[in-house]
């Protein structure tokens, strides 16, 4: 294990504490108007979590509507490719957890389904969400259509322009998409605007946050809903190989797919865990979205975590080719796992992700989203350093349909 304050704990799965902290990260840094709401939400969620009827209902929708469990797939040709690059005896067997096969094409819906069932249980009648690339917006609009609830999605005006197909999808699903022009018109501004809506419509509105960040209980709740990924993967791996993987990897923006995969493995000390942030044009250029590798702790959007910021504490714009990783913060549990050294955080550049986008399509017949393409970039390196009798599991958290047009434009220019 690595990390500045590396320490061995009996369990890494106990957090958060009653104040919503993972170590010093997390918490509830919201305006007083919202405090009663996040406290109510926490209470309602804890009750739902321990209610078998709620869990049964969620499991049923995940199976019949979302299409879970998602398959565990042995990426045979990618493995052969890696072994071709490796020293003799090296080159781990690579598996994909195929969350890109979920309804709506990404892991986002695991969380949206959980949160909308909770919203219904709490008697909320209006749903709001923020979105960057539009994947979380589409997933939210989808569950809102399914349950007949009005849905308002805040999206940075820049992203509305860049992600037209997803904007159309959301509208088709009956959602109202509000372009956000305040601030710098990106994902973080969309989140600010959603918080402003929530603070104004406190009585009837439920805010479905899309990543494992925000004020407590969101980081815990989103993690719990996404942990279905890791629980399934663990059982499937035992069935396929009779043992756990030697390493698991996932990409990190806010970090919801990653914490969902990682959390069930945190106490399996033989399993190495690696998260991959977006290095954009390169960490040294300052044009990236790697909060853990290139940021420092601060407070934004209701939680204390690693943030991209300047010396005055002003939040810097993130940059990534992948709109889904384009966020200047990261979930607080990742911040803590980074500090205690249980998870190793690496990064991959725009160009590396682009190459993997193409390589995975060519070798496996799977067009990955640009987000997991970042994880694949480091996975290919990692697998080469591992023995050929070892197993590496990568979360393929989204499919690349949404990215084909922007990738086409980029490749055309080269």
């Amino acid at each position: 294990m690595t990390g500045p304050t590396s320490e061995k704990l009996n369990t890494y799965r106990a957090g958060p504490d009653a104040e919503g902290r993972f170590g010093k990260y997390g918490g509830r840094f919201v305006a007083e108007t919202l405090m009663p709401l996040v406290l109510d939400l926490e209470k309602a969620y804890l009750e739902a979590r321990s209610d078998p009827a709620f869990q049964d209902e969620l499991a049923s929708y995940l199976k019949h509507y979302v299409g879970r469990p998602s398959p565990l797939y042995y990426a045979e040709r990618l493995t052969a490719y890696v072994r071709g690059l490796s020293a003799p005896g090296k080159g781990a067997k690579i598996y994909f957890k195929r969350d890109e096969l979920n309804h709506t094409g990404a892991h986002k819906i695991n969380n949206c389904m959980g949160q909308i069932l909770l919203a219904r249980r709490m008697g909320k009648t209006r749903i709001i969400a923020e979105t960057g690339a539009g994947q979380h917006g589409v997933a939210t609009a989808t569950v809102c259509a399914r349950f007949g609830l009005p849905c308002v999605v805040y999206m940075g005006a820049t992203d509305v322009e860049r992600q037209k197909p997803n904007v159309f999808r959301m509208k088709l699903l009956g959602a109202e998409v509000i372009p956000v022009t305040s601030g710098r018109a990106t994902l973080k501004d969309a989140m600010n605007e959603a918080l402003r809506d929530w603070v104004t419509n406190v009585a009837d509105t439920f805010y479905i946050i899309g990543t494992a960040a925000g004020p407590h209980p969101y980081p815990m709740m989103v993690r719990d809903f996404q942990s279905v990924i890791g629980r399934e993967a663990k059982a499937q791996m035992l069935e396929a190989e009779g043992r756990l993987p030697n390493a698991v990897m996932a990409c990190i923006g806010g970090g919801s797919n990653a914490i969902g995969l990682f959390h069930p493995f945190l106490d399996d000390s033989d399993v190495e865990i690696i998260g991959v942030e977006a290095a954009g044009l390169g960490l040294s250029t300052g044009e990236h979205a790697a909060s853990l590798s290139g940021g420092r702790p601060g407070v934004l959007h209701g939680n204390r975590t690693y943030l991209l910021q300047d010396a005055d504490g002003q939040i810097k714009d993130a940059h990534s080719i992948s709109a889904g990783l384009d966020y200047p913060g990261v979930g607080p549990e990742h911040a803590w796992l980074h500090d205690v050294g249980r998870v190793q955080y690496q990064s991959a550049t725009d160009d590396e992700a682009l190459s993997m986008f193409q390589l995975c399509a060519e070798l496996e017949g799977i067009i990955p989203a640009l987000e997991p393409a970042h994880a694949l970039a480091r996975a290919v390196d990692k697998a080469q350093a591992m023995g050929e009798d070892e197993i590496l599991l990568v979360n393929l958290c989204g499919r690349g349909d949404k990215d084909v047009f922007s990738v086409m434009d980029i490749l055309k220019d080269r």
Binding site: E19, V30, A31, M35, G183, K188, V199, V299, G313
Partner: protein, 275 residues
Amino acid sequence: MTRIADRFAKLAHERRAAFVPFIMAGDPDYETSLALLKALPGAGADVIELGVCFTDPMADGPAIQAAGLRALKSGQTLKKTLAMVRTFRQQDDETPIILMGYYNPVCAYGPADFVRDAKAAGVDGLIVVDLPPEEDAELRLPARAEGLDFIRLATPTTDARRLPMVVKNASGFLYYVSVAGITGKAAGETQAVAAAAARLRAASGLPVAVGFGIKTKEKARDIAKVADAVVVGSALVERLASSLAQSRGKSDIVVKSVLSLARDISGAVRAPREE
């Protein structure tokens, strides 16, 4: 006694509410903003709220968001905001100054260094929007140790269950956010505000300032009858923005225009209470 306590004692004696203008430090630039700050007491400001700009002001409406962006663009930092207060104090040692903003710039400065430097500069109190009572000990305790007031916010969603916790460690005054929402939207109904102000005063023993959405003289006059202080922010900031556009950035015209609105509103707030 602190400057805040002195000021509210004096106003209680005069049987009138305080006029509390809000301006964003560094909006539209350091010099204009400093000139405005220096002239506000002369235009009737009893207490001044000075905004600390932040890239992500999640409780603010469009007017104050835009003010923050103008300040950031002109190069304003928390350090410069403290320098502004220090300069102001060379001419005015009585008008209380409250810094209002978000936690991250303070975090980046370092809470202990910040409260020391703020006190030395002549700041009297702090309002940090995203530090609710559950999270504020890390700044409130060092602030109180330095003799800075830590001003708590109460809102329409602060119910009877939460109120004791909100008032428990409050100091200076209590800031009542008159509507559930962001800055600059419509203010709460005067009757509801009156009831809330009375409830908060009784629970805290502190003066109650009312803000968020008070944009006209009429509304300011109404609220002044039921509260101990009337905070006006978005209206002044909007005036600044429009005069900035009309005068093509002429600093003296901008200052004059904002002061004239401040004078109007302060006149309404100062109108003697009828009872």
